[in-house]
Point group: C2
């Protein structure tokens, strides 16, 4: 499904070069459930942004479903994202001036299904119910707790049933019981709908839910192995 070959990312700050990804190569098959771990600043979000077509590498190749996409334009990448990829951001990126239910319903406007606004609203409400926020539909992000905002971001990423979900620290603001509920929902989507899931996490318990763990340090992959599952 996904192949990365020699992916590099270097930021330019004036005359200083900041190399962040230094040659990442990996392959991800359809239906996998993968945890990406590594210390703070090691390059996980940078790698996720490239995988999620939010950013371009400075070198290397990215093959998605047989198409090499590292040099697509911003518009072409946006089209790809809206059709195929769900993304949960480390800092949520909710629209501040729209309510929880409106934030979640927003990606439905890209869907090929052409839903009526009441049908879209109904689905958004149902997805928010699945993450335990059925009684918070009309709250604005500033009227939600950190973990509630995180769950709105998760619901929004899943509303279009994307074949691939990228989740950057999806449980960082959640207590253990709510984390467990979110992870079980991910496992169910992976098992029943075959959604390919790649999640960044600092939590060994979360990584334990994955079938494969990729560890990145200082911009390079250090291990890439099957998890010793439960």
């Amino acid at each position: 499904l996904i192949t990365l070959h020699g992916i590099e990312k270097t930021y330019q700050m004036g005359d200083i070069s900041v190399p962040v990804l230094k040659g990442i190569s990996l392959a991800i098959r359809q239906g996998e459930l993968i945890a990406l771990t590594g210390s703070s600043g090691s390059g996980k979000s940078t790698l996720m942004n490239i995988l999620g077509c939010l950013d371009r590498p400075t070198a290397g190749e990215y093959w998605l479903e047989g198409q090499e996409i590292s040099q697509l334009s911003a518009d072409e990448r946006a089209l790809l994202r809206n059709r195929k990829l769900g993304f949960v951001f480390q800092s949520f990126n909710l629209l501040a001036r729209t309510s929880a239910i409106e934030n979640v319903a927003m990606p439905l406007s890209y869907s090929t299904e052409n839903l009526s606004s009441s049908e879209a609203r109904k689905r958004a409400a149902e997805m928010l119910g699945r993450v335990g926020l059925g009684d918070r539909l009309d709250h604005y992000p500033s009227q939600l707790s950190g973990g509630q905002q995180q769950r709105v971001a998760i619901a929004r990423a899943l509303i279009n049933h994307p074949p691939v979900l990228f989740a950057d620290e999806p449980t960082g603001n959640l207590d253990s019981r709510t984390s467990e509920e979110v992870l079980q929902m991910f496992e169910q989507l992976n098992a029943e709908e075959g959604i390919t899931i790649i999640m960044v996490t600092h939590d060994p318990k979360v990584a334990g839910h994955a079938k494969q763990i990729i560890r990145i340090e200082d911009g390079l992959i250090q291990d890439n192995a099957a998890a010793d599952g439960p």
Copy 2:
């Protein structure tokens, strides 16, 4: 040092009332190191905002160093915060258009010490060095990883050596080694400088570093007990 008596907080959303804190009473002595836990949406950040003088309760009393402060004006609360309280926000709240070192140096302008700008800069650099960001001084928040932004927020909260530090999920975006470093720094500040520390956390390992654990559920305290320390 701190006494809360029957603290309530209810939000008004049009004609709907959302009761969040339903009668919180507790006492915190100088020099304590306390963990505040509870599920997502239980009221932890709301309670922290009241304790940190960022918000006012709808009912109840808040005694800080013998002064009842629940009805202070916004200006009076700002003065109190700048002089006595350090606060690490769950969503960091860094100034987007200023660099890491400038963000950290900012509270020094409230300090009674009247530092020169080069002395202020030197101290901010040293504090950032303590959280492992000595090589990221001139990066802007958007050029930092999630965990690096969190550490800038921690450095900023500590730069004035406040007698009380409130930290809302200070390690939520940090890997276990970096988390451990931050917690050891907190323990050292508590042991050597007597700083009173109240931290919200979802992580049982973090709570394990505290001497006392307060658990809040649905706006009420469920337990308030000494931690079975190591």
